[in-house]
């Protein structure tokens, strides 16, 4: 068994002990975990409630696949200290990050000063976030490490907005699209968000497939994952030549094209009433400091659904609730991560488009 495998099985063994709290030894670090039997997800239908222990187990098991996707990325988290039905808050800064966590000082125009941001690239940090009730992980689309495709960009992120803009953190790895169906089942209460249902997901999937085909004709390979809730997240990995503003304008160009092609199906509208009955094609998250729920990230669905990467062939057969913190570790152990190559599949948009015209 590999070293990482030993660490994983060591933590899983400790979590088997039935105590409600304990001090975990994770890769040589001590980490106190509490309220292990607290229900985080109430469950739905035949699925049983899921506890904090289930969350810690899940994250430990998927960590070999999850951590590489978080490497070098400042991370925000949505904390649900009392489970997904309790109140939640979005946490960006940590005043006292634990010793084993990698941190980075980044200038925040909002704070008008530097702040300490967490980077989650080891298991203790991941479990620390879970202990804090941080179910949802929101990593940046850019990361602090310039190698291999962003050498030459700055690595000073603090002091001023200008420093940050010159830095590699201003150059995202992906152009992303969030397909968010505003297709109501009719069973939602007044003012509630649309719930997940078969018809809505089918339409969302069809839009994603068409987009995949369309970009494929331009030689662009796009990756898809379930959002873990109602929609789909699409990632186009790019060579880091373009800053966020450029990525957003590229995304907007694609958004406008998609709207033009399928005006009855797609909306770019910001107003919720005007989105109703359509799929919101959200390109606005292509912005520094913005993020989507991470790959393998558990979501606020009663069953503990997870944002799951799939291949385009699989997309035709799956449904978002197939992937929960129960099922995903098994799927990964059996099939591996369909996004394992996402960062080595980077596309040089510039060169590709030049070739188109040639």
């Amino acid at each position: 068994m590999s070293a990482a495998g030993t660490v994983v099985s060591g933590v899983l063994e400790q979590l088997e002990r039935r105590q409600p709290k304990m001090v975990l030894t994770v890769d040589g670090y001590q980490l106190a975990v509490t309220n292990l039997d607290k229900v985080m997800w109430p469950g739905a239908g035949r699925s049983r409630p899921l506890t904090k222990r289930d969350l810690l187990r899940y994250l430990t098991r998927v960590s070999p696949w999850l951590l590489p996707h978080l490497a070098g990325r400042p991370i925000f988290t949505t904390r649900y200290p009392d489970g997904v039905n309790g109140k939640s808050f979005y946490q960006k800064h940590w005043e006292k990050p634990p010793e084993y966590a990698r941190t980075v000082r980044i200038y925040s125009s909002h704070r008008e000063g530097d702040g300490e941001y967490l980077i989650c690239d080891n298991l203790p940090t991941l479990l620390f976030l879970a202990q804090m009730g941080g179910l949802e992980l929101h990593p940046w689309f850019s990361r602090v490490d310039p190698a291999p495709d962003a050498r030459g960009h700055g690595v000073t992120f603090s002091g001023s907005e200008a420093n940050l803009e010159k830095s590699v953190l201003n150059y995202p790895d992906f152009v992303i699209f969030d397909l968010d169906p505003y297709l109501y089942s009719g069973k939602e209460g007044k003012g509630e968000e649309p719930e997940l249902h078969r018809k809505a997901f089918k339409r969302t999937r069809e839009l994603a497939l068409r987009l995949h085909e369309m970009l494929g004709r331009l030689g662009l390979e796009i990756f898809v994952k379930t959002s873990g809730r109602t929609g789909l997240h699409l990632y186009l990995p790019i060579v880091r030549k373009f800053d966020y503003d450029a990525a957003r304008s590229i995304a907007e160009t694609i958004g406008r094209y998609v709207l033009q092609q399928w005006p009855k199906e797609v909306t770019l509208e910001w107003s919720v009433p005007r989105r109703t009955g359509k799929i919101f094609f959200d390109y606005n998250q292509n912005s520094r400091g913005k993020s989507l729920a991470s790959i393998f990230c558990p979501r606020r669905h009663p069953m503990g659904t997870v944002s799951m990467p799939v291949t385009w062939d699989q997309l035709e057969k799956i449904y978002p609730t197939d992937f929960t913190i129960h099922t995903v570790p098994g799927v990964l152990e059996e099939n591996g991560d369909p996004w394992a190559k996402v960062l080595s599949s980077k596309q040089d948009l510039d060169a590709l488009l030049q070739r188109q015209s040639a």
Partner: protein, 281 residues
Amino acid sequence: MARAIWSGSISFGMVSIPVKLFGATESKDISFNLLHATCGTRLQQRRWCPTDEVDVPWNETARGYEYAKGQYVVLTDEDFERLPLPSKHTIELTSFVEEKEIDPVFYERSYYLEPAERAEKPYALLLKALEKRNLTAIATITIRKKEQLCALRAHEGTIMLETLFYPDEIREERGMELGAIKVSDRELEMAFTLIDIFRKPFEPSEYHDHYREALAELIEAKLEGKQVVKAPAARDNRVIDLADALKRSVEAAKKEAAKPKPPARARTRATRPARRPRKVG
């Protein structure tokens, strides 16, 4: 010329002169539309009834005067019609005064009066008379349901109408008492000297709104740099070729990257969308 904002007649003694009223001044302030910062859509103003939770159409609105906190007396259109406003379509001249009798604090807005068709003769007569006697006429006029005091004066071959504040609209309290402060002759001499240095004829054309000019330049620069927030509703109906559009997008991005950037502050505020209001996906 712009559209007349009012038409009626000047009434004075037995004479009636049909005239039209035009605004003489315009604010050149650059105005902004309020957008939703996250998406660039222009915000709409809604007449929202929090009780019935509906948007209220104009024909369901009424005008209420709040006589005590939360207590209203409602006035209808008929109520307004019944109000005594004799000067509704007339400018009733009531007296003639010397211009210097009117303190500038009273002046509110300036309008040009133009004679209506076939009224040129009596108009010219009144203008001449005001010029020769060097007098200003005091009158009342009702513009947009509001009766206003006004002054008519001759100005470069036109009769100008200046609306005036009523005396009770001028604030009296000034909260400053300077009577007790002693000023010596020498100090006064010094002040006179300073004033004499800066004394010159008033040339309005020498004065510019520097802020507005700077603002216009900033807007121009943003347009040049393509840092423009496009409203999502502004659909381009031409069929675009995605490869071409992307190429243009990429070229624009490369050009943008090659350029020295304007101060980060101003730029991020305008172009970067904030966090979306409600996250569903």
